[in-house]
Symmetry: C2
Subunit: 129 residues, 2 copies
């Protein structure tokens, strides 16, 4: 049935609420590939993915998950959030490795003005560090 | 199991390959709500959704579905396509009514440059008609 769970999905949810980097580290495969909603080129490896994900949870306000969809090896999580005064919708497309950790993390966001605001704020944060 | 099918999903796939408006008409609920990747405000009703969807399948080239994810009442379909010389990834979030027709159709596209190109071309087509 549609009740499959993975340790990476559980740990990801924990991280979204507790913002603890150790929890995020446990959710991700060492060889994770992260696909940004804003740029085409993916980021490779856990450190690069963690840098993005620890920042994005600070940019998104009122972050809430809604619908969940599953395949045999992955899940789609629908979310809504605020970026500044704009409301956005998004999806996380996740694939899990044999240990249940997230090995592929792709994010899509709509509409265009919210995506632009997210991209601008993420660029500001990641180029300041 | 993850093998649930709906007539709306079957008809939608038929439409993507045959481009027959009658097939699309049979896929959609009369009261469908369509959420564009580009603008926040949804479009209500079958005629409005059909106007967008018949144009978008002409704008997207090399349109291919990849991963599928399911819930009890809906599905997420991952796709890739070309918009001009840009490659985009996207997802269709679909919900089905009690007759299996699509009652909610939400599209998200990445990355930002591909989404902008899609929005510009769709605006051009929909304001010319």
């Amino acid at each position: 049935m549609l009740t499959k769970t993975w340790v990476g999905l559980e740990k990801w949810h924990e991280f979204v609420s507790n913002r603890n980097e150790q929890t995020l580290e446990e959710a991700l495969s060492d060889n994770i590939i992260f696909h940004s909603p804003f740029v085409w080129k993916p980021k490779h490896g856990k450190l690069a993915a963690m840098q993005v994900l620890t920042n994005v949870v600070q940019v998104f306000q009122d972050f809430t998950y809604h619908r969940y969809f599953f395949s045999e090896t992955g899940a789609t999580l629908e979310f809504s959030a605020k970026v500044g005064d704009l409301t956005v919708k998004g999806v996380d497309l996740l694939e899990f490795d044999e240990d249940g950790k997230i090995k592929d993390f792709e994010v899509l966001v709509r509409p265009a003005n919210g995506l632009q605001a997210l991209g601008a704020e993420m660029t500001r944060r990641l180029t300041q560090n």
